[in-house]
């Protein structure tokens, strides 16, 4: 009976053993940490700088941090985006930032900056996972 064992091809990175989801979780909690765990220091630094700056600028523009339990579907989607920023979102809520009561155009931009920084962080965490499992060199 033939067995179906996947052997990495020539030039293909061999997946390492251990907890493969660690870079995914670390990258979600702290931007760039997933890449840093795999010693991709330059990429990690750039990701951390970009995502953290975007989130911070969003808050400085008086953007809003969405809450999970408002009952409004759009608010819940906004929360899903915000929560992608991991510990940045937790820190923002803990410091009581992002109330969004100010009605100026830049505050609306700030809200979008915060949501997009969370979504970009999810993309970077998935990228770290892909590197970990050998799907990306």
């Amino acid at each position: 009976m033939a067995s179906k064992v996947q052997v990495p091809g020539k030039g293909e990175a061999e997946p390492r053993s251990g907890f493969v989801f660690l870079p995914l979780i670390a990258g979600w909690l702290v931007p760039g940490a997933g890449h840093a765990l795999q010693k991709r220091w330059g990429r990690a630094a750039l990701l951390f700088l970009s995502i953290t700056s975007m989130f911070s600028l969003g808050l400085m523009m008086q953007g809003k941090l969405y809450m999970p339990n408002t009952g409004d579907v759009l608010d819940m989607l906004g929360f899903a985006g915000d929560f992608g920023a991991g510990l940045l979102y937790v820190a923002g809520r803990a410091l009581d930032l992002g109330h969004g009561a100010v009605q100026v155009a830049t505050a609306d931009y700030g809200t979008k900056f915060i949501v997009v920084s969370g979504l970009l962080n999810v993309i970077s965490a998935v990228d770290a996972h892909n590197i970990r499992v050998g799907r990306k060199p």
Partner: protein, 60 residues
């Protein structure tokens, strides 16, 4: 601290940060990352300028 950029500054900042993340996550080697990052940044800015002129002509 409050930061109130102009509309165009906000666009440039958004394009810069998003392009960096796109470049790192969507390409594998450094040269391709730089090229793709510059491409994304240019596309963001050009699209915004084109959309702005479009809205201007719709308004007038």
């Amino acid at each position: 601290m409050i930061f109130t950029p102009s509309h165009f500054t906000a666009v440039l900042l958004f394009a810069l940060f998003a392009s960096i993340v796109f470049a790192i996550t969507q390409r594998s080697n450094t040269r391709a990352m730089v090229r793709y990052g510059l491409f994304c940044f240019a596309m963001f800015v050009v699209s915004v300028i084109a959309a702005s002129w479009l809205m201007y002509f719709i308004r007038h």
